[in-house]
């Protein structure tokens, strides 16, 4: 029996359905249309560059050097939050594997009973009671799952996202459970940065005009005009957005729910997720646990091997070889990387857990079996894990 050698390691992100683009070997996850994101980046970096070039030298000397210092801090924070929002997984729910989809279908059919021919079957809805409120879970025909409460399907990214807020073209990604707080911190810090730059632009122009006159000042520092223009228009939109999201957070609502009027109060429906306390709601959204990604983007795909009718299929030939054969020669799927001990028992358990759920003679060859590894979240945690282990 020859061990199956893999020529190229395929990572799972390459086979993920949905309309996302991935960069840095699966560490970065964004929507397909990134044009507006580049515009956002350009506006922020460009305006700050003008500020540092034109205003800061004068203000550092005539007022205080802490002014450019805090501007730099704020700028770095804004960029960090923007990149974090744009590059992270918003909370995408992976699509149901075939067996799960079939299981759900059978449950639905059993629940519907016999539908007379010619009649449309009833809509696929499940009712759950949360905090004395009936919440309807809708079935997603694309992902073949009943969406959890507060999840919604983003048509732009073609994914179901948990606690879906909205799809933001400015950050080039959906905003959902995992990156909502980064998005909020981005809008807040951007508002502060805009106000900061706007204020000190005015201060700078006033101070310089006192010495040189208004028109001369504008000639000396032409960047100021651009900055003021950008900041003026940004202020209205970003500050407004921050205010709107602060309101949503205090009520523990998502933009999606607000737009649909899910908890608007008519028919006495109330938000079952709200703690009825502004402080508690804010704490939950902003200081709650950081959810890890359930999309295993950087895990290695198991190689699709040919199906054989006999139980001794080529794939299972590797199984019947001796236990301590290292995984890498047989399959690209890693063991449990975070817990793997160089122990004979553990590799065989992981091996069996990976292989036995998909014997080739029973399931289609395209069956993807994820390993028992815990999924990586982002680049940073992946690197951290590599460092630890």
């Amino acid at each position: 029996m020859s061990a199956v050698m893999i020529t190229r390691k395929v990572r799972k992100w390459e086979k993920l359905p949905g309309k996302n683009t991935f960069c840095c070997d699966g560490r970065v996850m964004m929507a397909r249309q990134k044009g507006v994101f580049y515009l956002t980046l350009f506006l922020i970096v460009g305006t700050c560059a003008l500020f540092f070039a034109f205003e800061c030298p004068y203000l550092a000397i005539h007022l205080s050097p802490t002014i450019p210092f805090f501007a730099a801090l704020l700028f770095l924070f804004v960029i960090a939050m923007l990149l974090r929002t744009s590059f992270s997984d918003p909370g995408v729910l992976p699509r149901a594997l075939p067996e799960e989809a079939t299981f759900i279908e059978m449950e639905i059919e059993a629940a519907n009973g016999n539908v007379p021919a010619g009649q449309r079957p009833p809509p696929r809805i499940r009712n759950v009671q949360i905090n004395n409120q009936i919440v309807k879970l809708k079935y997603c025909y694309t992902c073949k799952i009943f969406r959890p409460p507060r999840a919604s399907h983003c048509s732009i990214c073609d994914n179901c996202v948990d606690r879906f807020d909205h799809h933001c073209p400015w950050v080039g990604n959906c905003v959902g459970k995992r990156n909502y707080r980064y998005f909020y911190l981005f809008t807040t810090s951007l508002s502060l940065l805009t106000i900061y730059i706007f204020t000190f632009d005015i201060v700078h122009v006033v101070m310089r005009s006192v010495d040189n006159g208004f028109l001369n000042t504008l000639k000396e520092t032409p960047g100021t005009v651009l900055e003021v223009l950008v900041c003026f228009f940004t202020l209205w939109s970003v500050v407004g957005l921050t205010g709107f999201h602060t309101y949503l957070i205090s009520l523990n609502q998502t933009t999606n729910e607000d737009i649909k009027g899910s908890w608007s109060g008519k028919n006495r429906v109330q938000n079952p997720y709200s703690h009825k306390n502004i402080f508690k709601n804010c704490c939950e959204v902003l200081c709650g646990p950081t959810y890890p990604s359930v999309l295993d983007r950087r895990g290695l795909m198991q190689d699709d091997m040919p199906v054989s009718a006999t139980p001794a299929a080529p794939s299972s030939s590797s199984l019947s070889s001796s236990n301590p054969v290292p995984q890498t020669t047989k399959t690209t799927a890693p063991l449990i990387p975070n817990e793997h001990t160089p122990d004979d028992a553990k590799p065989s358990i992981a091996d069996s857990a990976e292989k036995s759920p998909s014997p080739r003679e029973e399931l289609p060859p395209a069956q993807k079996v994820p390993p028992l590894a815990s999924p990586e979240t982002d680049a940073e945690t992946a690197l951290a894990k590599d460092k630890i282990h």
Binding site: I108, C283, L372
Partner: protein
């Protein structure tokens, strides 16, 4: 007929997959991660009710611990925010630590309880935290015990 396995290795060598049962999420307490403790009928003659309920209860308690909003999560959140979340490059979040514990718990349960009965639990995190997947196996050597019967009563109307 009950199939006897002594460990996961035998399962791997001799077993073939019959069907999979999915324990769904229980949303009655909101969006926290919690699985239903309803016992699937397909497992009636495979495993004792109390064992599975105990496993699900322990898993639920782990998830409650992971998602607890209290002093530690505030501290973690504030500290991370103050460092612009760069600290997550070096530090593991509490949720990830608990997920590791869950992973080892499931492995231990598989070794001790489920594999000897021809069953295998899959960590919910690999199914998007939507379902707890239980794979049913049977001995390849013995005759197939009419898998269709296990799949017929899949639905309980909701």
């Amino acid at each position: 007929m009950a199939t006897e396995f002594h460990n996961l290795q035998e399962l791997r060598h001799n077993a073939s997959l019959v069907t999979k049962v999915f324990i769904q999420r229980d949303y009655s307490e909101g969006t926290v991660c919690r699985f239903q403790s309803k016992f699937p009928s397909e497992l009636d003659n495979r495993i004792e009710r109390t064992l599975l309920e105990e496993t699900v209860k322990t898993l639920n308690s782990y998830y409650v611990e992971a998602e607890k909003i209290g002093g530690q999560s505030y501290l973690e959140g504030c500290l991370a925010c103050a460092t612009a979340y760069i600290i997550f490059l070096c530090m593991e979040t509490r949720y990830e630590k608990v997920l590791k514990k869950i992973s080892s718990y499931i492995q231990e349960q598989n070794e001790k309880i489920y594999a000897p009965r021809g069953l295998l639990l899959t960590d919910p995190v690999e199914r998007g935290m939507r379902v707890l997947e239980i794979s049913l196996f049977e001995d390849r050597g013995s005759g197939s015990s009419s898998p269709s019967s296990t799949m017929s009563s899949a639905g309980s109307a909701r």
